[in-house]
């Protein structure tokens, strides 16, 4: 799990162009979206869907499904662990 979490942080920084944030600075538990945390938006959510498909072979059809999954790096990692074959 810890390895997955640190990989995810690197992938998020890379695919979301988070130039001013290093992977180590991302708080595993903090909300990714909205005020506070990383302040990601709806375009980032779509990019995370692509990230999940590209790196983990997971398919989320409806961005609305992603709301709980995308809450934090931790929830993302839990979703990947639970769904990856």
């Amino acid at each position: 799990m810890e390895e997955l979490i640190s990989n995810l942080k690197v992938q998020l920084v890379e695919s979301l162009n988070l130039e001013d944030v290093t992977p180590a600075e991302i708080d595993t538990e903090a909300p990714l979206f909205g005020d506070g945390g990383l302040g990601l938006d709806s375009i980032d959510a779509l990019e995370i869907i692509i990230l999940l498909e590209k790196h983990y072979g997971l398919h989320i059809g409806d961005p609305k499904e992603g709301k709980n999954i995308f809450y934090s790096v931790r929830t993302l990692a839990e979703y990947i662990t639970a769904n990856q074959k």
Binding site: L16, L18, E19, D20, S42, I43, D44, L46, E47, P63
Partner: protein, 580 residues
């Protein structure tokens, strides 16, 4: 000065429903849709719904044989414009006749699988090729401002005539269904698997469409054959200053544009007989529009979306739908909002549910698009609008030039990045030198970084907010290459068939006006927006357009000028113009 009245003298619409205004209207009155199911791997790997123009239909047009040297979109535009100009009796080749184009992506299909840029993919080249077909020597105005381009064309046409710069204006809009745009909208997950359902409870996205339209405007009433001539009575635009792809949460800014357009037309909400909005049938667009209507006092007026007939035709949509509104006024027939059955927006609006005769003297047409832009125009058979759009208003109070790796403000070098190894390093350090951390900056494409940084320096000692309200600052920018740098990036992504995964974060920047959206978000400016394409910085033209904006009375300051980026070449030259 006399009040110059702007009449619609001729028009045409080319969509899947026909090659003339009349053919389109007959199909709309019969409630026929042109949206169909397609399996076409050249456009998208999976099946999709869209409204496409059959090439065999285009080829049946008498002009077709003369057009073998033109690209498909240009053929559509020429077929459309030839008919409209012919009906209007306007001399297209006259020095008193301007051409105004509206297109989001022009001949973008030329980028596919091509290593070298075909110059015809530049929007100005497309415009010149079409204008020359009609023997026009005037430098065309080319609007590329996302999905509001067509409505802005009407707005600009009215201003060019009212100011006395021209006596006739030919407005031509067009966009086509390409792999480029379909893959992009699919990446946004904003395309419905069914024909779109505007304002409906079950709406689940837009339908893509293609088309062209022409509207010929004139101040010469003797050219107008209609018994009840239709006039362009008002126009305005605004920016949400909220998000580059998501619409405003409140609808306040579209409401600003609507109110300004009604003011321009000297009409009250009660006098508006029908509102034809963008109505794309995405969840958030339609929701925002309903809120804007409410704020503008128009929630009870009949509300129409035409997207169910021929889909979302991008930069052509505002013009196609404007022509169809004008025709509905001539026929005094109200169209049904095809695809709508049960209200699904938060405000109780009055969506049209039947095709029927109706008294239509004043129609408000709106559009909203990526970059947070909104526009509204008013067509009227009664009210002329008496505002004069003057040239020569406003003075340049500051200017900022970015060229090479230096930034100058008012003639003094304020940042020297000569030691930076490349553009990316230069622009990043220039921005960081003047601004507190701003998360959005690193996500922007090169064009947006350039524009946002230039404005940051332009306004470093004066953020304008102490003197002006947010809606009093207009944005009016131009460039040559539109968003071609990012267009090529998006094209490279979709040319990769092994991992076909178009990126929404790239696609959203394939619109040149996003740079204005980013500036408006960063600086909280909500005034008018207009992005035009030109061959080079034409200061005189930009100042004329800025003057029009200042004449509206809404704008007190205009940020205008040039911001261009392609390949190794980039430059910005931005002026602050104030109504002193």
């Amino acid at each position: 000065m006399e009040n110059r009245i702007v009449y619609v003298a001729g028009d045409n619409v080319v969509t899947s429903l026909g090659l003339t205004t009349a053919e389109n209207v007959e199909n709309i009155l019969a409630e026929q849709t042109g949206i169909k199911y397609y399996e076409d791997g050249a456009i998208y790997p999976e099946p999709f719904m869209a409204s496409r123009i059959d090439d065999a239909t285009l080829a049946s047009h008498p002009l077709w044989k003369e057009l073998s040297n033109y690209h498909r979109l240009e053929k559509m535009m020429i077929i459309s414009a030839a008919d409209a100009i012919n009906r209007s009796g306007v001399d297209a080749s006259s020095s008193r006749t301007a051409f105004v184009f509206s297109s989001t992506k022009g001949n973008i299909d030329l980028l596919a699988n091509s290593s070298q840029l075909n110059r015809d993919a530049e929007l100005m080249e497309m415009a010149l090729r079409v204008a020359r077909f009609f023997h026009s020597d005037n430098r065309p105005y080319v609007i590329s401002n996302a999905c509001i381009s067509g409505v802005l064309a009407v707005m600009l046409g009215q201003r060019l005539l009212k100011s006395g710069l021209y006596d006739n204006v030919v407005l031509i809009g067009g966009d086509t269904i390409t792999e480029f745009v379909v893959s992009g909208f699919m990446s946004f997950k904003s395309v419905s698997p069914n024909p779109c359902k505007p304002y409906d409870k079950n709406r689940d996205g837009l339908s893509m469409g293609e088309g062209a339209a022409t509207m010929v405007l004139t101040v010469d009433k003797s050219l107008v054959k209609d018994a009840r001539p239709v006039m362009v009575a008002g126009g305005a635009s605004s920016n949400d200053a909220n998000h580059i792809s998501g619409p405003s949460r409140t609808g306040y800014e579209l409401n600003l544009a609507i109110r300004s357009a009604m003011d321009d037309a000297e009409l009250t909400p009660e006098q508006i007989d029908l509102v034809d909005m963008h109505g794309t049938a995405t969840v958030y667009n339609d929701e925002m529009e309903s809120k804007a209507l409410d704020l503008a006092g128009l929630a009870d007026r009949p509300l129409l979306s035409l997207k169910g007939y021929f889909g979302h035709t991008l930069g052509a949509s505002g013009l196609i739908e404007s022509v169809l509104c004008v025709e509905s006024m001539r026929r005094q027939m109200q169209y049904r909002t095809l695809g709508y059955s049960e209200l699904g927006v938060p405000v109780q609006v009055n969506v049209t549910t039947e095709t029927k005769p109706a008294q239509l003297n004043n129609i408000l047409k709106t559009a909203s698009g990526f970059g947070g832009c909104n526009a509204a125009v008013v067509f009227s058979t009664e009210n002329k609008g008496s505002r004069q759009y003057a040239t020569g208003r406003g003075k340049i109070t500051h200017e900022c030039v970015v060229s090479g790796k230096k930034i100058e403000v008012d003639g003094k070098v304020v940042f020297d990045g000569s030691s930076a190894e490349d553009y990316a390093t230069f622009i990043r350090s220039a921005f960081k030198a003047i601004s507190e951390p701003y998360m959005k900056f690193s996500k922007m494409d090169d064009l947006c970084k350039l524009g946002v940084t230039a404005v940051e320096y332009l306004l470093q000692n004066d953020d304008l907010h102490s003197r002006y309200k947010e809606e009093e600052v207009s944005m009016l920018l131009a460039n040559r290459f539109s968003s071609l740098e990012t267009d090529c990036n998006h094209q490279r992504i979709i040319d990769d068939r092994e991992f076909y995964q178009p990126s929404p974060a790239v696609f959203v920047y394939t619109l040149a006006n996003i740079v204005m959206g980013e500036i408006c978000i960063r600086r909280k400016f909500k005034g008018e927006n207009l992005f035009i394409i030109d061959s080079e910085l034409n200061k005189e033209r930009m100042l004329e357009l800025a003057s029009f904006s200042l004449t509206t009375g809404t704008a007190k300051a205009v940020i205008t000028g040039w911001v261009d980026f392609f390949g190794e070449e980039y430059s910005a030259h931005i002026y602050l113009v104030e109504d002193l």
